[in-house]
């Protein structure tokens, strides 16, 4: 199938984000590879989840996609156009179609502005709409996210976390986006509220045909919402595939360890708890070979010296692991 048939709206190709870090006076500058060659594509109405532990580059990826940061290398294609090459009005237009929802709803709403102002700001900046039209649109979206018209004149501090995240979602929808990047949108919320917000996001996705890039470390949430999963480790994708594949049959030892840490209700779904020794290595000084080898019990000499490639399998998944290729895994 071509990209058009699959209705791909956003495609990243070999995205990299390297930062120079000063290591002290007169010492050479270090390079942090926050994101190191990530590729993906997401279709309209679908959700791509990006998972991994803290510091693996998930949020940096989100910042690249929303043009907050410019990638060091790689390309982002939005509706077939290269985002990074756009200038002027075309860039402004594209920017409106890719919106972001932040993790912390207590920080993402301007505490000095009323909800109405917060919602209408994108319209004020980007459109010629009259104030009554803007208000109408704001009220329409407030209703869509389950809030009332009377909330229009209130300040963010008058709302609970879940309500604030609803406001943030409404704001993201103001400009009719095609892609919404959600950076851990529910991890700051209570579990009961998480479910409400997730369901709201799924309803809205269906109604407006949005593509979601859903960044999370919570796999039970991901299983609920995602169509495809991207597992990242130290700035690289280690496993990628349809949600069902990943959850039923995790191939990479790291994915397996992640899944084993997710609480399961049904005993048959439980994986024996795998404890990963050590911590995520520093991205400034990544280990030679496979980045995961220091914490992997299947690692051999090859893993310690040569970096494995991301290899596509016939079931639609991709995996970056020598032990899997060589059949050394015992599960």
């Amino acid at each position: 199938m071509t990209a058009q048939e699959k209705n791909i709206v956003l495609r990243g190709e070999g995205l990299k984000q390297h930062y120079e870090v000063s290591q002290g006076f007169l010492k050479p500058k270090g390079i942090v590879k926050a994101v190191d060659g990530v590729s993906f594509e997401v279709a309209a109405g679908k959700t791509l989840a990006v998972v991994g532990e803290s510091g693996c580059g998930k949020s940096t990826l989100a910042r690249q996609l929303t043009m907050i940061e410019t990638p060091t290398a790689g390309s982002i294609e939005f509706n077939g156009k290269n985002l990074l090459a756009l200038t002027g009005d075309a860039k402004k237009e594209a920017r409106q179609r890719i919106q972001i929802i932040f993790q912390n709803p207590y920080g993402s709403l301007n505490p000095r502005k009323k909800v109405g102002h917060i919602l209408e700001e994108p319209l004020v900046i980007n459109s010629e709409m009259t104030p009554p039209d803007r208000k109408e649109r704001a009220l329409y979206l407030l209703e869509k996210v389950g809030l009332k018209a009377e909330h229009y004149d209130r300040y963010p501090h008058m709302f609970s976390g879940g309500q604030r995240q609803r406001i943030a979602i409404a704001r993201g929808l103001m400009m009719n986006p095609k892609v919404v990047v959600a950076d851990e949108p529910v991890s700051a919320l209570d579990v009961s509220v998480q479910a409400q917000v997730l369901n709201l996001m799924m309803d809205i996705q269906k109604e407006f045909g949005l593509a979601y890039i859903f960044i999370s470390h919570d796999l039970s949430v991901v299983e609920h919402i995602a169509d495809e999963v991207l597992v990242m480790y130290l700035g690289r994708v280690v496993e990628q595939g349809p949600t069902e594949q990943i959850f039923k049959n995790p191939k990479h030892p790291y994915t397996r360890a992640l899944l084993s840490s997710t609480p399961r209700i049904k005993p048959e779904q439980r994986i024996e708890k795998i404890r990963l020794p050590g911590e995520l290595p520093s991205p400034m000084n990544p280990p030679l070979g496979c980045a995961f080898h220091g914490r992997c019990k299947y690692a051999n000499d090859q893993c310690r010296h040569i970096t494995p490639e991301l290899i596509a399998k016939e079931d639609g998944s991709k995996i970056r692991c020598f032990a899997y290729e060589e059949g050394r895994l015992d599960y």
């Binding site: 907050i68 980007n126 209130r154």
Partner: protein, 296 residues
């Protein structure tokens, strides 16, 4: 189900809302009342004052206040060393002192906020340049710097005002810059940027309102400082020139009577003290009322 009697309140207008929170702070209301009183005195000085502030009644030199022994009801707060009515001079002095405070605070506030915003928001070379210059300004004793500037520009009340504005500038720059640095990487700023907002909008509409609380307090404190420092310059002959009835100049010229005629020093001193106190109380209340995080 029991019927509950909850009165539904419509959303308050911003002014209503401001007043609602402001009046919860009693000190602030008293401060505001006193400041309003002084403002009224200043505006109506021509009508209210019993005498001209510069008329010298030679036969009534150093008359005590009306309520003490030897006082005369003609001069309610007594007269000074050359026979001028102190009450009238205080009323006209209020006008002068408030204008000076307003002038100095507005100039340093506007310039300080702009420079601080640019320094904090853009960072880099601009930041370094602005901050080093403000370091230099701050490393000199405030009054000495003011004296130096006035000496160059020539002694007058306007030049002294300009000099003091420059002296206070670094406070506002630093305060603004610090708040901007704290705010500019918050998520709400980034989300405005993703929505397409440009630097000017981000600086003045998104970030600035969140930095105002400490600036308002600093500005009210600055108001009283301005009055005090202007008095000091007046004392040195570099500020308000006699016979202008400026409070600080009045204090300075009365120093020889501290032991013999208490009222000549006491009343201008009291005026400065109470006015400064009222401004500080009001500033505190303003900060609380303007900060939505403190509202219920």
């Amino acid at each position: 189900m029991t019927q509950s009697n909850i009165t539904v309140q419509g959303p308050r207008t911003p002014l209503n809302e401001f007043w609602f929170y402001f009046k919860q702070n009693r000190g602030a209301v008293i401060g505001l009342a006193y400041v309003s009183f002084i403002v009224l005195l200043a505006v109506l000085a021509d009508v209210l004052a019993p005498h001209s502030p510069t008329d010298q009644f030679r036969e009534f030199i150093l008359t005590p206040p009306a309520f003490s022994e030897g006082g005369s009801s003609q001069f309610l707060l007594g007269t000074d060393g050359v026979g001028r009515d102190i009450l009238s001079r205080l009323m006209h002095g209020a006008r002068l002192s408030l204008l000076i405070g307003l002038f100095i605070v507005s100039i340093s506030l506007i310039m300080g906020i702009s420079l601080g915003l640019f320094a904090g928001y853009f960072g880099g070379f601009l930041d370094t340049a602005i901050m080093r210059i403000s370091d230099i300004l701050q490393s000199l004793p405030a009054l000495l710097l003011a004296i130096g500037i006035v000496a160059v520009l020539g002694p007058s009340i306007v030049n002294a005002g300009l000099a003091l504005s420059l002296v206070y500038l670094p406070h506002y720059i630093r305060l603004t810059r610090a708040s901007v640095l704290a705010e500019k990487n918050r998520d709400y700023v980034i989300s405005s940027r993703v929505a397409g907002a440009r630097s000017m909008r981000l600086m003045f509409i998104t970030i600035l309102p969140n930095c105002l609380a400490p600036l308002i307090v600093q500005a009210t404190l600055g108001f009283s400082n301005a009055i005090l420092d202007m008095a000091a310059l007046g004392f040195l002959g570099l500020g308000a020139q006699p016979p202008l009835p400026e409070w600080g100049t009045m204090l300075a010229t009365a120093k020889e009577f501290i032991q013999s005629a208490w009222w000549v020093v006491t009343f201008p001193g009291l005026m400065i003290l109470t006015t400064v106190l009222a401004f500080n109380l009001m500033g505190d209340g303003l900060r609380d009322a303007l900060d939505p995080k403190l509202k219920q």
